[in-house]
Symmetry: C2
Subunit: 355 residues, 2 copies
DNA sequence: TTTAGCACTCGGATAGCCTAAGTGCTAAAA
DNA sequence: TTTTAGCACTTAGGCTATCCGAGTGCTAAA
């Protein structure tokens, strides 16, 4: 049985109205207020229903004579089945469409731009992510002769991402030597993950290179560097200061919890990498482990060939304006995704840089 | 006359002791406490001196019957001439030396590692920066043939940083065509800044390429992209949550000020880029415009060929443990700089990535 | 010139009181 | 059987009054 299936329509209406109201003003909601919400019954009835909803775990009472507040389960049910889709206003759409300007540029810039935009439009902080690529392989090596002491090693990774290194040699090299080097690399370690590059393999390559075996070690170091560039991906926040505008974070404890969580970049990266959802995901703090209670994250990942290559998201108090935020994130994500799908001149960028 | 020259030795001693004490516990310091600080006179005398120091602008009084607190000018004089050098303990040195492990890796990783380290050792947030490169030029173009529809364009920038793009062509290309393309690019736009690449120049290049003129436009787009990659540099914070451990930031107004400042990345980038100081710089909030009052920044930049290529810094309350933080930043900066100076295989990374 | 003593000031903590909001329960009404 | 009205009860938060301590400035003596 799905969560919330045990609720009567009236209970659902009450729950929805209550959560909407709580999101609006952040304070516990009482039965009296709810009578003005088209439920169609008196405060006493609503009290009874609320009391039951509390027993069922959808509501909580901060203290005896306060109104009710949604519990994690309440929020969960709300975002899963209760909330009404928010339809963007013409004005909002226009703003969002300016985003298209960034279309010309690369994924990470678009993600960044999207983050800024959402922050300014929703007043919640955003997070933009480009996750680390694990177990990358080099599909093809290319060398380019510069002069007798220098050459460029270009590595074509999966997804036609190119990573290059400018390599300065201690010995003199010729184009012929470089071509041999290139062949050796392609024959031995193309399509291999870093853990498959073993010492015997390296020895074999040095052997293959003959007198120029000294090249291998300095090249291998660079290859390894590029492959295992676990470069944490990029994770950026925009508008963290907005958090302070929400009363739940004037409690320094709560604030610290959330900031600490945000500081643990690996955790968020994991969240992103494990997000198999094709739609917008909503994480509610305290529901599952890591995320700090009192806060929620709305996240949309971008995938290329089924692999997560980035994400944008919104971090805010648990009483976020889910419908609106979801609508915006969805819209921008669609814009970004569409540019990902039709690469003419390929422009995917690796998560980090080269030399 | 330099700031602080008008102070007697006793005044200096009092000022130093007062600031040390204030940094320690964050509360206004009274005359009575200072008698225990080896000043060698009674609280009454100290009171008189403090009164004068206040008139001179080095101290402030939050209210009539509180102790004194250093003013901006007080802090400025303190960090400039008063504070005692902090000598790192053996234990601290050991921890810092672990840093050397990162030596193998690249600048940005070292910077990041240094940030983490300082945060954990000082309990202040750190900021790590790689500024944007402005007005980059491509010193040399290289093309690498992949197949009849694809090639790699490698651009060697100043500092032997290589940036590559995997380019997919709409027309078929041969190695010969690519070589011509390469020549055209090198003849016309090597060593030029993006603003020097004018439309007539592009027309000329298209002309030079003859029948393959279609290549130019798609290549130019990539070149422009790389050159003007104003990619904001990377600016990352570590341990922002630590701020909350300092009482000055339990005032939400102060906290918001600082967080807003931290959010305005351009401002900090400017600070970094304009930092001509070869030593550690100390910025005291409220002293000069941008930085939020109540906070200070300690910053050390890294330069290559006189150009700022990165920085690490510490952000904290104005009553920071300057001597200790300065010592640590200085030490780590030295470690990082030393690896910057002896590049064997060149490994400088561009501020961002390639395709 | 320094010190001791003393009256004065003011912020912060504590306690007590009151109010408003909201609840649960019971009994009447539909 | 379900809904409503009424009422007693609970409790957080705001308000005021009060007290205490820390620290000052001033004056007079050393």
């Amino acid at each position: 049985m799905r969560i919330g299936d045990d609720l009567s329509d009236r209970k659902k209406a009450i729950l929805r109205a209550l959560i909407d109201a709580h999101i609006e003003n952040g304070e516990p909601v009482g039965s009296k207020y709810l009578t003005s919400c088209d439920i169609g019954c008196s405060s006493a009835t609503i009290r009874n229903e609320m009391s039951e909803l509390e027993q069922m775990g959808y509501l909580e009472q901060p203290h005896t004579s306060a109104g009710r507040v949604p519990s994690k389960a309440g929020y969960r049910f709300y975002v899963d089945s209760l909330m009404r889709a928010y339809s963007l206003t013409a004005r909002e759409l226009e703003t969002l469409n300016n985003m298209q300007k960034a279309r010309l540029s690369q994924l990470d810039k678009m993600i960044k731009a999207a983050g800024k935009l959402i922050t300014s439009m929703t007043n919640y902080p955003t997070v933009s992510v480009k996750p680390k690529f694990k177990d990358q392989t080099v599909n093809c090596f290319k060398t380019t002769f510069v002069d007798s002491r220098n050459f460029i090693l270009s590595m074509i990774m999966s997804g036609d991402v190119v990573r290059s290194r400018y390599i300065h040699c201690k010995i003199e090299v010729t184009e012929e030597v470089l071509n041999r080097l290139c062949g050796v690399l392609n024959n031995n370690i193309a399509h291999k993950t870093s853990s498959e590059i073993t010492l015997p393999l390296i020895m074999k390559m040095e052997n293959d290179m003959g007198v120029d075996d000294a090249l291998i070690s300095s090249v291998i170091k660079n290859v390894y560097d590029v492959m295992s560039s676990d470069d944490e991906g990029e994770l950026k926040y925009e508008g963290v200061d907005k958090l302070l505008e929400y009363p739940e974070f004037s409690d320094l404890g709560n604030l610290k919890d959330l900031l600490s969580f945000m500081d643990k970049k690996e955790q968020i990266m994991q969240l992103v990498e494990n997000d198999k959802n094709d739609n917008v995901s909503i994480y509610i703090g305290g529901e599952d482990s890591s995320l700090s209670a009192n806060s929620s994250i709305i996240l949309k990942t971008f995938k290329v060939d089924g692999k997560v290559v980035g994400a944008i998201g919104v971090i805010g108090p648990q009483r976020m304006e889910y419908p609106k935020v979801v609508a915006m994130v969805e819209y921008l994500a669609k814009c970004i995704s569409s540019t990902l799908e039709i690469p003419d001149v390929k422009e995917l960028r690796p998560p980090d840089s080269d030399t």
